[in-house]
């Protein structure tokens, strides 16, 4: 039996990421093993942008190997569970105004000044997602 498809459309993924303030950011340590951290994020110009504080393990990892993934899920109730994971190569972006928009006060995973962190962009070309509202048989 074919597996039920409950993924989001590209447009739904955009809306979902646009509503998130932070993601779990996965990077690669020097030995190729994975590392995970939290990063403030925002969707700008169709790409996921995220901030990584300089000097952190995640920052060192990205500067050495740009392959990352960013993931977030929400669980307001069982059939409202949604989540998305974006994969790709992070690209550093030098845009002060964009960085200031991402580093919103109240998101304690980046400095609000933006002076101690770098901004990266990740395209949404390789995304896995799920939306439990699309499950056909709900009990």
């Amino acid at each position: 039996m074919a597996r039920e498809q409950i993924g989001m459309t590209a447009a739904e993924v955009d809306v979902f990421f646009a509503s998130q303030r932070w993601v779990v950011l996965a990077t690669l340590d020097a030995d190729g093993s994975p590392w995970a951290d939290l990063a403030a994020c925002g969707l700008e110009q169709g790409e996921l942008h995220f901030l990584v504080c300089r000097g952190t393990r995640s920052h060192h990892n990205i500067e050495r190997d740009a392959r990352v993934c960013a993931s977030i899920d929400v669980y307001p109730s069982y059939y409202a569970i949604r989540g998305a994971t974006a994969h790709g190569a992070a690209r550093r972006v030098d845009d002060g105004s964009l960085r200031a928009r991402i580093a919103r006060p109240g998101v304690p995973v980046a400095d609000d000044s933006g002076e101690r962190s770098d901004l990266y962009a990740l395209s949404l070309d390789d995304v896995f997602s799920f939306d439990f509202a699309k499950i056909r048989n709900q009990y």
Partner: protein
């Protein structure tokens, strides 16, 4: 009501595995109280991928209940190196988190003690154990219990930040 929520019989792994080095008390306490996690595994090309998962605590280590044929189980079978990020809940509180880096191995569910859920869950929160249907599928071998032996744990505490 979904099977994940309505289950009357869930089980929690209460038996400590002596082959697993003990976690720091702070880490163990956070792990025991945390259900929200993202498991990071490696794709065949070595790039990272992430799987939002309900975290379990089995035998003094982080564990996950998943389908044997799932991408995460296949990734971990090919390369057991993983890293998980655990949060206290779904309330968007980011003050404390646990980074749990380790290697996956398949646990034998028969070696773990089955108990009924002993505590009430907050409304809408994920189950603290494995629902009865999942237990059946574990016994059938369709699902597996992935235990993660910790190589490194880091508590992230941002309670003093903005």
């Amino acid at each position: 009501m979904p099977w994940l929520v309505r289950t009357a019989l869930a089980w929690r792994a209460e038996v400590r595995d002596d082959s697993v080095p003990p976690l720091a008390p702070e880490v163990e306490a956070f792990l025991a109280g945390s259900r929200r996690s993202v498991l990071v595994t490696l794709r065949p090309d070595g790039s990272p991928t992430a799987h939002p998962m309900t975290a379990l605590c089995a035998g003094g280590r982080l564990a996950y209940n998943t389908y044997r044929k799932s991408a995460k189980a296949r990734n971990a079978a090919r390369d057991p190196r993983t890293c998980s990020l655990l949060l206290a809940g779904y309330d968007d509180s980011l003050e404390r988190a646990l980074v749990y880096k380790g290697r996956v191995r398949i646990l034998d569910p028969a070696s773990l003690e089955l108990t009924s859920p002993a505590r009430a869950r907050p409304s809408g929160a994920p189950a603290s154990g494995v629902p009865d249907r999942a237990v059946t599928r574990l016994q059938e071998g369709k699902r597996v219990l992935l235990g993660v032996d910790a190589d490194e744990t880091v508590m992230l505490d941002r309670s003093s930040e903005g």
